[in-house]
């Protein structure tokens, strides 16, 4: 059944740009949102480390790719692919370097420290002349027709989101995935049982960072312009959204973030279309309502609806971190 659902979604993703060519960009962003929610859930939901600054890694990917495209002298496609790969690698290295210190902090202190991290990055990026400072970077033009351009980046983001989801799914089935869950449930006990907690935490953060960094290059090119605060290190939008989408769908579950991202993205597009000017106010209200009234998310709600018998068989939902 699992395979059938995956194949169905994959087929839908492949034909979507031909079925609905007018909203290809929005659909590309839908895959990005899914990638955001899934990568956030790797450490937020599955490991109990609720980061508010994972957008930091996305921003690193955006900037590395944009700089490679500007400075490497390669032609369009090689520069894009080298930039994307290096962006992913750079973000993972950043997670590896910062991880041991920052992941030692727990609970709400961790949440605020990561929030600080993303704001520092936004401030530095908007003051540093070499990377364009506050005026940002303009990316090279796509060497093809406009229609092809959007479709090209759609497929790129679709592939990235699919790979991210499959990688997370594979990760949760390994011993490492279990170790992450053990850290979420009780870190001290997990350590006493012989789990290498620091190593596990840093690895999971690197996984998150790698895929976020990889998404940076294509998204920067799809938008065409890198703004330090509104795109790369957009803490008030992307940074909060990734947390919210995972919570909305049900954090700590495999499908929760995907479902949350789809619902959220559709709602957000409707807000942007119908609530001229007030969409961000509505977004704030939505966050409060979701967090206060639906803390276990859609998947948690479905599990509760079907009673305790089914709950035992499926993945448990993280309602509260210790």
């Amino acid at each position: 059944m699992d395979m059938a659902v995956l194949a169905g979604i994959g087929a839908l993703g492949l034909v979507a740009p031909w079925a609905a060519p007018s909203i290809v960009t929005q659909l590309a962003f839908l895959w990005l949102m899914i990638l955001f929610a899934v990568t956030w859930d790797v450490n937020g939901g599955q490991m109990g480390y609720n980061s508010f600054g994972n957008v930091f890694f996305f921003g690193i990917g955006v900037y590395i790719c944009a700089l490679i495209q500007r400075d490497s002298g390669l032609s369009y496609y090689p520069a894009l692919f080298v930039g994307t790969a290096l962006g992913a690698l750079g973000a993972a290295i950043a997670a590896l370097a910062l991880g041991p210190a920052i992941l030692g902090i727990r609970g709400h202190y961790f949440a605020i420290a990561t929030l600080g991290l993303s704001i520092v990055a936004a401030d530095v990026a908007s003051a540093w002349e070499y990377i364009g400072a506050a005026s940002g970077l303009t990316l090279p033009l796509f060497p093809g027709a406009i229609g092809n351009r959007n479709r090209f980046f759609y497929y790129l983001l679709f592939a990235l989101a699919a790979i991210t989801f499959l990688a997370a799914r594979a990760l949760y089935r390994t011993r490492l995935g279990l170790a992450m869950n053990a850290i979420r449930d009780n870190e001290d006990k997990a350590e006493a049982m012989g789990v290498h907690t620091t190593r596990t935490k840093v690895f999971a953060w690197c996984v998150s960072a790698f895929f976020l960094g990889a998404a940076g290059g294509p998204v920067g090119n799809l938008v065409g312009f890198v703004d330090p605060r509104d795109l790369a290190f957009a803490g008030a939008t992307f940074g909060v959204w990734m947390v919210l989408m995972a919570v909305l769908g049900g954090k700590g579950t495999l499908w929760g973030p995907v479902i949350g991202a789809v619902i959220f993205h559709v709602t957000q597009e409707l807000f942007w279309t119908y609530l001229l000017g007030w969409q961000r106010v509505a977004m704030g209200l939505l966050i409060v309502v979701i967090v206060v009234f639906f803390p276990t998310g859609v998947v948690g709600w479905l599990l509760r609806l079907h009673g305790p018998r089914k709950r035992r068989r499926s993945t448990t939902v993280a309602t509260s971190a210790p």
Partner: protein, 299 residues
Amino acid sequence: MSNLSVLADAPILLVQLVVSGVLVGAIFALVAYGMALVWGVMNIINIAQGEFVMLGGYAVFYLAGAGVPPLLGIPIAAAAMFVLAFALYRAVIHRIVGRDMFVSILATFGISILLQQLANQLFSADIRTLPSGLPSLSFDNGLISIAGVKIVGFVAALVVGSALFLFLRHTRIGRAIRATAQNARAARVLGIDTDRVYATTFALNGAICGAAGGLVAMTWFVQPYLGLTYTLRSFMIVVAAGLGNLPGVIVAGSALGVLEEAAGFVLGAEYQTAFIFLLLIALLVGRNLRLWRQRKYLR
């Protein structure tokens, strides 16, 4: 960085940075004290703290536009924010008291986005300044100048802080607040209406932020997006000082004010906030590493 040599040539400027830093630090300490109050009593980290400050600033700004002198506007702003925070408690916050810390952070984050975007819609994103009409004081042939408004702000912060201290110490509801902070269950057993205590605490925090916001509007400016820096500054001060440590909050607030003034002078204004947040991360990591040796962590 070139300003570093200026500082080396004229060490007297350092006096100005320190004095000015201590003066503005009192305002930071005031906001931080409100955060520590809510954190200690209700176990909630209020991310919307800075937005309360921002709204207080707007209240004083618009009152001044209507002819009310700023110093008189501050108590009115505090009263208005008391009511708003009380309403917020009744609408949302009472549902997240006692829940997981993650829920309270995310929910107050949502409130902060809501208030900030509401302010953006209603008051526009323009930067508003409030001419204080106070002269600057000069010493040492004008080499050192301290804005008069900063001294007024400092004194006002001290007045509000002491009033709060006396309130918590000597009134009946103040004692109930302290009892709830120590042990909410025992307080309930002894007949304290903890729900009312929480509502009062949160509203009181709103009033503190409202007053601080008026001082911020007089000293610098108001703008819909200034909230988050005040929230994180307060968080940092509380982490450095510890909960329920009023002298510590004042010292940490002054230290932050001085460091910020110095960083703004040496690194330039565009790196000033980046410096504060880097300091925040360094503080958290540093404190955590110290505990790590005893197999403990920040909690």
